[in-house]
């Protein structure tokens, strides 16, 4: 097996599917010739040609909207939006069409499309390059939302996303694009969309997180371990449809819940998880479910970003307080 970072693992997933299925095409701003601003599609145009891997004009609505059309006419488009902060010009195409074409046409037409975008904060970037707005997409009926936390998961989930018969928003935590290296099979394998992973077992507290936040939580858990605390860590992997069972079973065991994400707190993903747990495991809850999240403000420019994003200390602090309740 090769050792890959997330950029390489995603590239490998695209490579596998491009080789395997002629209906797969890959495109986006700068995604062709230069292989994307993060080099995720590097080498693919050279290998598969300009018809299958190509650059587009600077226009997100038509990138997604033409993807809808391509999918209707038999392709499996994988489009790249250069940063998650630039998906909004395409929002109408996503919510009004990608998410609805199957239902609208009673299954006559469907949109097996993947919209990939580098996602999340922590790279000291310009404005609009650091947000975590997955809740917007998770709330829209008809979309699946996937956020991997490791190279291995990224590849397996992306292959599943490309093979999925419905539109998938695939957010790639840019902070850990190159931060984690891992053994990743060169060939094809799948990780099921809609299935969370238990990364660590424990019985005093359930922590739910995903994406780059997993690493932050893991750092906090090292400290917690030294304190003798027994914490279960769930990597959600898919935001919608959510793996409620894994979360609920865990909370039934631990009696306590903490959700950590970079997204703004109010109306964010943690709220949904807390609501679900209330509905299904109310009598098991021994402490108020807690949230460690971004603020209800715009992400600050780099000089302020460390104040904004939850770090291991903040997660640790919340772990302690929830267990001590």
């Amino acid at each position: 097996m090769a050792v890959m970072n997330m950029v390489q693992a995603i590239n490998s997933a695209l490579d596998v599917k491009l080789a395997d299925d002629p209906s797969v095409i890959v495109f986006g701003e700068d995604a062709g010739l230069e292989g994307g601003v993060f080099r995720v599609t590097e080498g693919l145009q050279q290998k598969y040609g300009e018809k299958r891997v190509f650059d587009t004009p600077l226009a997100e609505s038509i990138i997604v909207g033409s993807g809808v059309g391509m999918a209707i006419n038999g392709l499996r488009p994988v489009c790249e939006i250069q940063f998650d902060g630039f998906m909004y010009p395409a929002f109408n195409q996503i919510i009004s069409h990608a998410a609805r074409m199957r239902l609208r046409s009673r299954g006559t037409y469907s949109v097996p499309m993947v919209i990939r975008a580098p996602y999340g904060g922590g790279i000291r970037a310009l404005e609009h390059h650091s947000e975590s707005m997955e809740a917007l997409y998770a709330h829209i009926p008809g979309l699946k939302v996937v956020i991997p936390a490791t190279p291995y998961d990224a590849k397996g989930l992306l292959i599943s996303a490309i093979e999925d018969n419905d539109p998938v928003i695939f957010f790639e935590p840019k902070k850990i694009y190159r931060a984690i290296k891992q053994e990743v099979p060169e060939g094809e394998y799948r990780i099921k969309i809609g299935k969370a992973a238990i990364l660590q077992e424990g019985d005093q507290l359930t922590v739910v997180a995903y994406g780059a936040m997993i690493r932050t939580v893991q750092q906090a858990l090292q400290k917690a371990k030294k304190d003798g605390l027994s914490v279960e860590l769930i990597d959600l992997r898919t935001i919608y449809p959510m793996d409620a069972d894994t979360i609920i079973n865990s909370v039934k065991k631990t009696g306590r819940l903490l959700v950590a994400h970079e997204a703004p707190r109010s109306f964010g993903p943690a709220a949904e998880i807390i609501a679900l747990v209330n509905e299904e495991a109310f009598l098991h809850l021994e402490a108020p479910p807690a949230r460690v999240t971004g603020m209800d403000t715009v992400v600050p420019l780099p000089k302020g970003e460390d104040l904004y994003f939850p770090d291991a200390d903040r997660v640790y602090d919340a772990i302690k307080r929830t267990i001590d309740f």
Binding site: S61, I62, S66, A71, I72, N73, L103, G107, P241
Partner: protein
């Protein structure tokens, strides 16, 4: 001679002639047949057998009757809000008939005649405007997309469908419809640019019917024509008399041929008039005069095609009556069928959202069923 502004480079001499002869900046508009049904520009008369022209008239008349009936069903509360196509039949039917069966049609919402040509039935129409998604369940291979409500968003899908066709090397061409109002949307711009950049087989067909709900065309944009917007994308554009079946047919035919030959997209502006209200919820007297409506009545596309056919002895009052009867009974039959359609079930709400229903949806479905059982039980 081919002008520099549009990429007419791969066009045949004849195609380039049409688009150049009617350069949008020249102020010219293609008209083949005038309001009296006389052919005024024989050079551009499409080469159609008489039977085809009769067929076209029949579909237009059918659409007119269906439209009128639908509006009155709506008034009776038997259909929901719907957009009348009255007055725009030549643009709808003329453009649709110029296509082949393998071609795709990506509609807006006001092209009933075109949908009928493409293979939709009035049952689909009644179901759709009667409030059921079943109205968009067209038979496999119809290559007609469901109504697209968000203005001009469908132009992007047309570009994508054409992209897939070109990718596979298929011969299919895509036509997509939008209105004068739709020309202001960003998606019109992005889709046109995309289709031109990749030289995709798309016909952007603008039904310029003078209004976007209450807003007059001259307040929608400062450009003298919609057709000239093609210049921004380096694609050919042409303005045609949208109430002239022959002009519409010919322009679409040339654009389709052009697209099929690998020369990329074009833009057709069909100048027409919405004789009815915007939708059944609209009251046009608030924004336009009776005089104006009257003036356009005289330019009605049905009248002039009928006159043409009558002068050629291809049509007469008897045939008109007979066709009206046949169409009426056919439409009535389908309306009955629509009214007899069963209401959607709980499962219908859920099962088309995803290919495989996720657990969370299953749970909601069961919950809803349980509630209904509790309520009824």
């Amino acid at each position: 001679m081919v002008t520099t502004r549009a990429s007419t480079k791969y066009m045949t001499e004849e195609q380039a002639m049409l688009f150049n002869a009617f350069d949008p900046l020249s102020g010219k508009r293609l008209q083949v047949m005038d309001e009296k049904g006389d052919i005024v520009d024989a050079k551009w008369m499409p080469d159609l057998p008489d039977s085809k022209v009769v067929e076209a008239y029949k579909v237009m008349l059918y659409a007119r009757i269906a439209d009128t009936k639908s509006v009155s069903y709506q008034r009776q509360g038997r259909l929901y809000t719907l957009p009348s196509n009255m007055g725009q039949e030549a643009a709808a039917v003329g453009s649709a008939m110029a296509l082949e069966k393998i071609d795709w049609m990506v509609p807006a919402y006001r092209e009933l005649g075109a949908w009928l040509v493409k293979g939709a039935t009035m049952l689909h129409y009644f179901l759709y405007f009667g409030g059921s998604e079943e109205g968009s369940r067209y038979p496999e291979g119809t290559r007609l997309l469901p109504v697209s409500v968000p203005i001009s968003s469908q132009l992007c899908h047309a570009a994508g469908i054409a992209h897939a066709a070109k990718y596979r090397g298929d011969r299919e061409v895509v036509i997509t419809y939008f209105g004068d109002g739709g020309s202001s949307q960003g998606d019109f711009h992005e889709a046109s640019n995309w289709a031109a950049v990749y030289e995709l087989p798309v016909i952007f067909f603008c039904n310029n019917n003078g209004y976007a709900i209450s807003l007059r065309r001259d307040k929608q944009t400062k450009s003298k024509t919609i057709a000239q917007k093609a210049i921004a994308y380096g694609m050919p554009g042409i303005q045609v008399d949208g109430n002239d079946f022959f002009a519409v047919y010919r322009a679409t035919h040339e654009a389709a041929k052009n697209a099929r030959d690998g020369n990329g997209p074009s833009l057709i502006e069909a100048v027409t008039y919405r004789r009815g209200s915007h939708t059944t919820s609209d009251d046009p007297t608030r924004y336009r005069s009776a005089d104006e409506e009257k003036a356009w009545e005289a330019k009605d596309p049905m009248i002039r095609l009928r006159k043409y056919l009558e002068k050629k002895k291809l049509w007469d009052e008897d045939r008109e009556k007979k066709h009206i009867e046949e169409a009426t009974s056919d439409i009535d039959r389908q309306f009955k069928q629509f009214e007899a359609t069963a209401a959607p079930t709980v499962e219908d709400i859920f099962k088309y959202q995803f290919d495989e229903m996720p657990d969370s949806l299953k749970k909601q479905m069961v919950e809803l069923r349980n509630f209904i059982n509790r309520k009824e039980g």
